[in-house]
Symmetry: C2
Subunit: 557 residues, 2 copies
Amino acid sequence: RVYQGAPTGTDIECEGWRQEAALRMLNNNLDPDVAEKPEALVVYGGTGRAARSWEAYDAILDELRELGDEETLLVQSGKPVGRFPTHERAPRVLIANSNLVGKWDNWERFHELEAEGKIMYGQMTAGSWAYIGTQGIVQGTYETLAELGRQEYEGDLEGRIVVTGGLGGMSGAQPLAVTMNRGVCIVAEVDARRIERRLETDYLMERAESLDEALDAATAAAEAAEPYSVAVETNVADMLETMVERDFVPDVVTDQTSAHDELEGYYPSGYTVDEADELRASDPERYREASLETMERHVDAVLELQERGAVAFEYGNNLRGQVEEHCDHENAFDFPGFVPAYIRPMFCRGRGPFRWAALSGDPADIHRTDEAVTELFPENDSLTRWIELAQEHVSFQGLPSRVCWLGYETENGVTERARFALRINELVAEGEITAPVVVTRDHLDAGSVASPHRETEAMRDGTDAVADWPILNALLNCAAGADIVSVHDGGGVGIGNALHTNNHVVLDGTELAAEKARRVFTTDPGMGVVRHADAGYEDALDEADRSDVAVPMRDRG
Amino acid sequence: RVYQGAPTGTDIECEGWRQEAALRMLNNNLDPDVAEKPEALVVYGGTGRAARSWEAYDAILDELRELGDEETLLVQSGKPVGRFPTHERAPRVLIANSNLVGKWDNWERFHELEAEGKIMYGQMTAGSWAYIGTQGIVQGTYETLAELGRQEYEGDLEGRIVVTGGLGGMSGAQPLAVTMNRGVCIVAEVDARRIERRLETDYLMERAESLDEALDAATAAAEAAEPYSVAVETNVADMLETMVERDFVPDVVTDQTSAHDELEGYYPSGYTVDEADELRASDPERYREASLETMERHVDAVLELQERGAVAFEYGNNLRGQVEEHCDHENAFDFPGFVPAYIRPMFCRGRGPFRWAALSGDPADIHRTDEAVTELFPENDSLTRWIELAQEHVSFQGLPSRVCWLGYETENGVTERARFALRINELVAEGEITAPVVVTRDHLDAGSVASPHRETEAMRDGTDAVADWPILNALLNCAAGADIVSVHDGGGVGIGNALHTNNHVVLDGTELAAEKARRVFTTDPGMGVVRHADAGYEDALDEADRSDVAVPMRDRG
Ligand SMILES: NC(=O)c1ccc[n+]([C@@H]2O[C@H](COP(=O)([O-])OP(=O)(O)OC[C@H]3O[C@@H](n4cnc5c(N)ncnc54)[C@H](O)[C@@H]3O)[C@@H](O)[C@H]2O)c1
Ligand SMILES: NC(=O)c1ccc[n+]([C@@H]2O[C@H](COP(=O)([O-])OP(=O)(O)OC[C@H]3O[C@@H](n4cnc5c(N)ncnc54)[C@H](O)[C@@H]3O)[C@@H](O)[C@H]2O)c1
């Protein structure tokens, strides 16, 4: 099979744009520029698929082409299994992927069923037809660092030095996200080819020949308040230890090497990449030991820099967990994870990813929305900066798309997310945008996830594992009339470790779309506010007051 | 607190009947005649609760009283946590109870969270405000035996002898359910008081002084084709062994003693009840051993009777599992469970519980619906018989209620369940029924459950544990406009062992109610048809053909 990705333009194959949007987003997921292995239906994240089999894929397309405006298609782990009469305010597609009853909710049972073709791993955005390739990557890191700037420095990262590790698939976004926030980044990467690639795409500015050179250049840039990024070809643990020795204390220290996997991901100190690759093949057990030993030194160096005044946080790679578990290290968790530190304060206010794609395939449509969002929120400095820099640095892949973070905060009773969605809908109605736009999100959102290793790590009230919330979120999205609603087991962190809900709203310029958008972009971020209010977060209770969100048990008090 | 149960009559406290129905059903759950321990908010099944705390209960009532016709209330494990604007076709209440992310989905974590007041066990009908006390009990057993009659004898149980054990809470329904199906029942019960109670309530006809007397009386009744039931005060294992010795082979052998619990439930042979109770207290380990030894003999006797021609099945008490696991018995599973044997063929056709309550509190309203259902389905002999006998034997508790099993089968495109719901709605509109009626269900339904130890045991394609189905069911019920939609972990079989979806539709005589009823009672049983069609059951594929249910992958073939 040869895949072209999504159909584009203004002619449609389906009965309406809602169905057409589902069809285009599914195909966009499998665009050779977007998907990792489209020929195997694999979109990203190991084996995250868009459909269970090619037969199932063909059947989904046929169903979508015939689906009426008052019908709903059911997709069970990537296979279409039913189609029922509903009504126009209801979703057009409902999806549930890789969900298993608790006791059986593990990779072992999953793989048995998968081998028999009975289930599919959809990650989160693969199985919900919402992946947008590298267009989605820089943004989360940008937002995290923007929040760090607000919290730690009451501003941005101007004049601040951020030290980190890793220039791979996701981690490669770090230097760009730092400079977008006006900061200075020093990044350690063992693999010279990874450094090259990031230089080529302008995600990284320079490569230093030595750590000394990097430190000098970074210090100079910070003093001049210039955005700057530089990579050093070295093991991150070695680099941090040297910093400790020299008492070079950066403003911020974090890391995104693949520490979650001590064999296939992280590189041990004392070996070149080639030597390490050989060791992995010849003696995996020794590799593992060496790798975990390096991680322990890595953590100790982070803790020491933190002790001396650096802001330290773990960036979702499980470095702390590995060292605590395998090295018997009692203090590994003495520096926080990024979610409790920087993401959760945003979740409390319903802030999270608003991800939109132009179904026309025309980049000009996205540029029009870029204008619209900066016009709508002129006072939001980090948003404006993000949009400008994204235009410069983030290249389109498949359907042109954009992501930014928006929250609940209401103006005349309409939330931030709803205001922007309604504005896009108007632009579509006026013909300023040539075809409908679809809005969706990624894993990391305020009120739609239970994932104790990542999004709901260390909730204040200990409810990390309570999965009532994503289920209520899915039901409420459905009640509010999202056009696709989906529920996924195991996105990002593997089967049995998380439950995520996704949604899509198609903005086709109609009054129906406006009604759906107004509702979904109230209920969906609103669930973030109430979920965090229920857990006792002040920011959430404050947002509920400010934006008039009902918190039943509190409101009675 | 003193509880009166549900408010009755035609005056309402809420803005509309949909909200009022939720309020009345929640209170009905806690009616002292219905609930096990209303003072502790416990409705049934150990600790199945209707609300997390009295404070939460009060807040739910307040919320329901104020809830608008275009708003939706969110209840998370028995606590109201949010209220959002939606629309009139959407549900008024969404509930998620005791759901945990897979890896943490067990009693241990649950109890930790419960102790802190962070979660609640809702069983299934407790937490979804749908319990109706003993009014709900006889019916499931009646339907199972009716299906057994159809399958094994192409008719009912006339002239057939059914042998079983147990006259407790649920098991006590057995003799009545057998005679309602025109059969003869011999039941063994160790506890004389349990026998007395069932005689008093007319669930049981006679008590024999000896097994001989029981066999003679039963044989005579069967020959005369007379319904008859008789209890023998004896251990069921002893009774079955005697039958084997005498080569007395009944038509059917089953059992509903509490074999799932070898210490607190099942009685070992060789002890009186009092002796056994003493042994349990003084030497639980010896009790356990004796109990499991008796179970092994029990299973051997069942297998021997099966070998000699009896129809044998396990009745949901895990007798086979206990003997396989603890006695190393390889053949324990050589007789089937009741679900694969008798319930699943009905599920394939979307047949399942249709449970309705008269919100007026007036028994005459239920009698009017009884007439209506028999008028609507005059050719359904077992339904007519059920209604007649239920009127005689099932006494009302709390809001007068009824249950019967109805399926998908369409007439002019309208399903069986929808036809009856629409008829009730008309009767409400015409004033023949004095107040609205609410329709819901119990655990055991066709397309709304994943429960590998019970409802989805031994699915043909091995998908017992796949939980995508109940999630899709909940989303689709929501899309179709059910008035309450709820999702529950662990109903009946404990945390981590099952996922159930429940729904309520309020029939208030309006066109909106008719629209919702038509949709929900199509999509909901329809999911039973497609779930079983997907698993490869012929009956389901046949029902899909007959009633025009879309099965996307098959329809392309
Ligand atoms: N925000 C989140 O929650 C989030 C998002 C994405 C990724 N992650 C995590 O971040 C990590 C990185 O993801 P990725 O997609 O970039 O992985 P990747 O494997 O593509 O990249 C990791 C990079 O780190 C380098 N590296 C490994 N060990 C090193 C060491 N000791 N010193 C210096 N460099 C080293 C590798 O050469 C590679 O280039 C993963 O653990 C992933 O799970 C978290
Ligand atoms: N359809 C279903 O899936 C379903 C529904 C309800 C109950 N059940 C199962 O059925 C069983 C019975 O439920 P219940 O509510 O009636 O329980 P119960 O404990 O109230 O009643 C069981 C009765 O069996 C008697 N008994 C115990 N051991 C005996 C023995 N060896 N010989 C003779 N009598 C004996 C007890 O004295 C008691 O009266 C349970 O295991 C329950 O889980 C299954």
